[in-house]
């Protein structure tokens, strides 16, 4: 009989038993990085290409189950979305035990939850959100809705790159032809692909659109992600998840020690409203000092924004006029 196993040995056996049986001649699994409800992510070494990678494996002990289907869908979604804000997939396949796995770039960085404490000022925060919104807009343009945007699913890399993770509950709105022409031509009527069952509740409370809270995951459209982006902005500013009622969100934003500008507040509340606008365009316009669609401006407000936007130019003109007047007077 084996002698009493130490706590350390029990821990190692526990890890070893759950580690994926990836082809050992190709990948050497090194460590468990994280474990979620759907899958676990391991750090591994790609022996053929000589680089570190991340391997995500379904937690299902039995292949072909719901978890497996979701992981398979996630790899398909990631493979379809080639964008700097989305982790690239290198490889995918079935383990010896029949479970699905995929290999992706190993990303080092902080989740938004950790990174938010390091953000210095509104401009830095908006920079992150603009890149985040751009990624989400790219996914939407390719017929994919994320449906679970939340701080722990957003990673900020060591070079400031913003990555959207965990596409396991994403919904493919339409089948678009693959680059090699492998998919059937899209007639616009192809059914949406959804690895979650009808009526399934997907998302995370506080960041979840009302339709997802109602369990209506199947009919959720891009607006569900726009709601989550607004909720994330709200969370960064207040440290709290967004309340269900828009009025309450507005009150909480106004009560902050340093409340956001009226235009930024309008953008957030618009995202949280049922008729959310185009957040991506609005964020870009806001950062560029242009008017946002979420907030119609009055004349005074527009003038102040204009003055703010062209501040340097106006100061240069004023300095020129002062100097010219001074020279004229001296002469």
């Amino acid at each position: 009989m084996t002698a009493r196993l130490s706590d350390a040995a029990v821990g190692r056996l526990r890890s070893a038993a759950s580690w994926p049986d990836v082809p050992p001649e190709r990948y050497a699994v090194r460590a468990l990085i994280g474990r979620g409800g759907m899958g676990s992510v391991f750090e591994a070494y790609d022996q053929r290409l000589g680089r570190n990678v991340a391997i995500k494996v379904s937690n299902a002990a039995v292949p072909g189950t719901g978890l497996d289907a979701r992981l398979r869908q996630e790899s398909v979604v990631l493979g379809r979305l080639e964008h700097p804000g989305i982790v690239p997939v290198h490889d995918a396949g079935e383990l010896a035990d029949g479970r699905w796995y995929y290999v992706m770039k190993l990303v080092r960085g902080q989740t938004l939850t950790e990174h938010v404490a390091t953000l210095d000022g509104e401009a830095a925060m908006l920079g992150v959100f603009e890149r985040l919104a751009d990624t989400v807009a790219f996914a939407h343009a390719n017929g994919v809705i994320h449906r679970d945007l939340k701080p722990s699913n957003i990673m900020v890399g060591s070079f400031g790159e913003v990555l959207v993770l965990d596409w396991g509950v994403a919904k493919i709105l339409k089948e678009t032809p693959l680059a090699d022409g492998g998919a059937e031509p899209h007639d616009g009527q192809a059914p949406a692909r959804d690895a979650t069952a009808s009526g399934t509740r997907v998302g995370t409370p506080g960041f979840m659109a009302p339709e997802l809270q109602r369990g209506d995951a199947v009919s959720a459209g891009p607006a569900a992600d726009v709601f989550s982006l607004g909720a994330l902005l709200f969370w960064v500013l207040t440290g709290r998840p967004a309340p269900d009622a828009g009025d309450e969100a507005g009150r909480q934003l106004a009560a902050l020690a340093t409340p956001p500008s009226r235009r930024l507040k309008a953008v957030i509340l618009k995202c949280l409203s049922p008729d959310a606008g185009d957040l991506v365009a609005d964020l870009a316009r806001y950062r560029a000092g242009l008017p946002v669609t979420a907030h119609p401006e009055g004349l005074i407000e527009r003038t102040w924004r204009w003055l703010g936007r062209y501040q340097t130019f106006i100061l240069l003109v004023l300095a020129y006029l002062v100097m010219r007047t001074l020279f004229a007077w001296l002469r």
């Binding site: 009493r4 196993l5 070893a16 937690n59 002990a61 189950t65 010896a96």
Partner: protein
């Protein structure tokens, strides 16, 4: 392929069977999975002397079989493991009352169990935090489950003339030293690094299969087995 046992009765369903032979085998499975955590629990928590703890564990399973203690388990109220521990607590309490009343309790011998070995293990458990008795019983159960799976793995690999596979597993996963790497192990055991990788891969997979099979054999129901597999291995063993 992880073996998913063909649909069969859970240990609790077998414990509740009208067929005495099925009940006897089910109690054998339970005793095999729980006797050592039970023995350690009685020694550490109840401070029973080695012989008294030995008698109590033997008698507990015998009495539970005869008086149908375990048939009363209600899955909506607790985990089966917790229920088993509480039954053991009550059994010891009753035993003490009986002793005070001048009656002799225990003494039944049903199983051939390695109590001296279990006693030696207690030295290694010295200093264990016992503030959370449920946690202690859980950890001891998992430890014993793994030890049984390791034994089964050793036997299976020996039988297949693959003792070297177990040796790699033992050196890398079971009793590693800080400096053990695939390369150092390959050099030590006169293997290639690829062989070390492949052997470790094989041993881990078989260990997982054996541990899951043993876990299932001592789980009260399919639902409990699924929860325990997720808790212990992070594996979802449901099929839907």
């Amino acid at each position: 392929m992880i073996p998913f046992p063909a649909t069969r009765q859970s240990v609790l369903e077998r414990v509740r069977s009208q067929d005495d032979e099925i009940r006897r085998v089910a109690f054998g499975d339970l005793a095999e999975g729980y006797w050592k955590p039970g023995y350690h629990y009685l020694r550490v928590h109840w401070h029973l002397a080695p012989e008294a703890a030995e008698d109590a564990v033997q008698a507990f399973f015998t009495t539970a079989f005869e008086k149908q203690y375990l048939e009363r388990y209600d899955a909506s109220k607790s985990k089966f493991r917790t229920f088993l521990r509480v039954c053991l607590d009550r059994y010891v309490q009753n035993l003490r009352k009986a002793e005070q009343a001048g009656k002799r309790g225990g003494g039944a011998t049903m199983l051939s169990l390695d109590f001296p070995g279990a006693e030696r293990e207690l030295d290694a458990a010295a200093g264990t935090n016992l503030h959370d008795v449920d946690r202690f019983f859980h950890d001891e159960t998992v430890r014993f489950l793994f030890a049984r799976a390791v034994d089964a793995l050793r036997q299976a690999l020996d039988a297949d003339d693959q003792a070297i596979v177990f040796r790699v597993f033992e050196r890398h996963d079971l009793n590693p030293s800080a400096e053990v790497t695939y390369a150092s192990l390959a050099a030590e055991l006169h293997l290639t690094v690829a062989q070390v990788t492949n052997y470790l891969h094989l041993a881990r997979r078989r260990f997982r299969e054996l541990a899951l099979a043993k876990l299932r054999a001592i789980s009260a129901s399919e639902a409990e087995y699924q929860r325990e597999a997720l808790d212990i291995f992070g594996l979802d063993v449901t099929r839907s």
